[in-house]
Symmetry: C2
Subunit: 348 residues, 2 copies
Amino acid sequence: MLVWRLTDLLAEMQRVKARVDDLILNQLLPNSSSIREVDLLYRMMRDYPARQAKGMRPFLCVTTCRAAGGHEDDALLTASCIELFQNWILIHDDIEDGSELRRGEPSLHRKYGEALSLNTGDALHARTWEAILTNKKRLGLERTFAVMEEFSQMVNKTTEGQHMELGWVVGGRWDLKEKDYYEMCTRKTSWYTVASPCRLGAIVAGEGGDVLDRLREFGISLGIAFQIQDDSLNLAGDQKKYGKAKSDDILEGKRTLILLHLLAVASQSERDKVISIMNRKREAKTAADVAFVMSLINKYDAIGFARKRAAELMKEALTTLNGIRWKGDRDAAEMLTSFARFAVEREW
Amino acid sequence: MLVWRLTDLLAEMQRVKARVDDLILNQLLPNSSSIREVDLLYRMMRDYPARQAKGMRPFLCVTTCRAAGGHEDDALLTASCIELFQNWILIHDDIEDGSELRRGEPSLHRKYGEALSLNTGDALHARTWEAILTNKKRLGLERTFAVMEEFSQMVNKTTEGQHMELGWVVGGRWDLKEKDYYEMCTRKTSWYTVASPCRLGAIVAGEGGDVLDRLREFGISLGIAFQIQDDSLNLAGDQKKYGKAKSDDILEGKRTLILLHLLAVASQSERDKVISIMNRKREAKTAADVAFVMSLINKYDAIGFARKRAAELMKEALTTLNGIRWKGDRDAAEMLTSFARFAVEREW
């Protein structure tokens, strides 16, 4: 069994991303029917896509397509649509969370204000569907439809997950169990990060039924593991590599597995103090507040607990993945396995 | 030539709207895969669609379909998608503009906060595409694709128009001519209010080429006329009938034709004072500020000027409409003509 090295995987992600970026950035140019007044809209639509990113989702789409016996070129447009989707959802997510940084630079609404940025997200959302429609030339009507149906499911799940997470913050809810976190993560992260990118690649390659079911299971487990690792990096990662503002999740009052575990094991008085800090508005949280929460996270090794869960979920994901009988490129299939490991062990 | 009375037209709009509402509100229910945590999301998605509205756009879609020789039932789903589109764009528009009222009730973000409301708009946007996809059972793949392509164009135009209008406010721009207003209105209003609803009805009925071109022209002229009337009602209409907060456009700093005309004909000192008021943030505008701007609007009869332009545009629209050789229901074609008159003479 060939095991891929991290550097080779990262290089492969960048290779696919470069191809996808070509498609995206060319689509997001003013065209003959545009007027000068909308130049800024196009500049804003290209802003996030032009920033450095891992390119994990297009990689998963293209690689699964190859593993399932399809051609990379057939999956490129769909992969670029996943990337477009990711970019508009990030624009809106940053507004909803009041995030300051994205991929190491100020978030779009910090640069251009909320109104124009919200509308830019909508414009990019529409471009996502516009781009998917052009798949018909290469994939034909039937398969393009199947791609759109998966996309539609993916957006529905993501907005449901986003609603759950935001609703907990708005509602001041802390009566949450590990299971609630998994339900939220499955919707908010797993579908659009792993399950749908893989399933879309398989659909483009002509796969159906059993393989799609297994990719859903694989994607849900690995997506949650990925999110847990993301939450851990938010609190304990190297900000330069990670690209978001450190401890943003505490400022935003996020219900991460780390926080939920802390609340489950801390003393009553510690729990009360953590909740009262977490419930304050972003602006009202001081550096000392964040340091206090972090000290308890360290005292109870809540990050260690979360990482253990992530490792378990990753193993489940690998078991599911190994049960798939691929019809295509063996190398690509191995790459998926190696990727699953790295996604949980990554520092970026 | 049969001329329709306003009451009959309004009754017809309500008849179509009731059928469309059935489809929409049934689609926006939690399904078997939903969990209790997302109940509020569904309630929020149903909020605007369940409020009273004119139902103009679905009426145009269904009526054009019948005039073009198609069956009403074939156009219903597409008509309901236009209504879904209208609802998500209003949710986001209200956030972008900071609007307080919508259809006579508090705007969604006033009820639930901006973060959850923004996400609800995204969720509804996705449901729009999901619903369009289900057209394939009735219309087949080819025609469903044509519907989606028109939809995609409609959303692109609308977000471009929204960008122009917001960009003028954010940029403090007042160096605008009548022509700029028409360019903005064409994108922001005409496409999704008249051009695309009519064209979608025609597409469902199997029309193409010349009829679609004429409907675009018709829709652009009538859409601008409709927006001018909307701007006039915002300043001079009966708030109960109109459903939005009176003079909101002044508070929001909107560049309406009325304002642009006022700036073109007022004295230098009047112009300076109007611009300094309009450039203030919403919260900083007093009742006296609004009254001052209104007094100048009345002094120069800027609303009268705008209404004259609207009447001219409506005539152009009617000339274009009369050039279409309809293959279908004569009654429906006459209804479109009568509608065009009422859209500009309306008080609601």
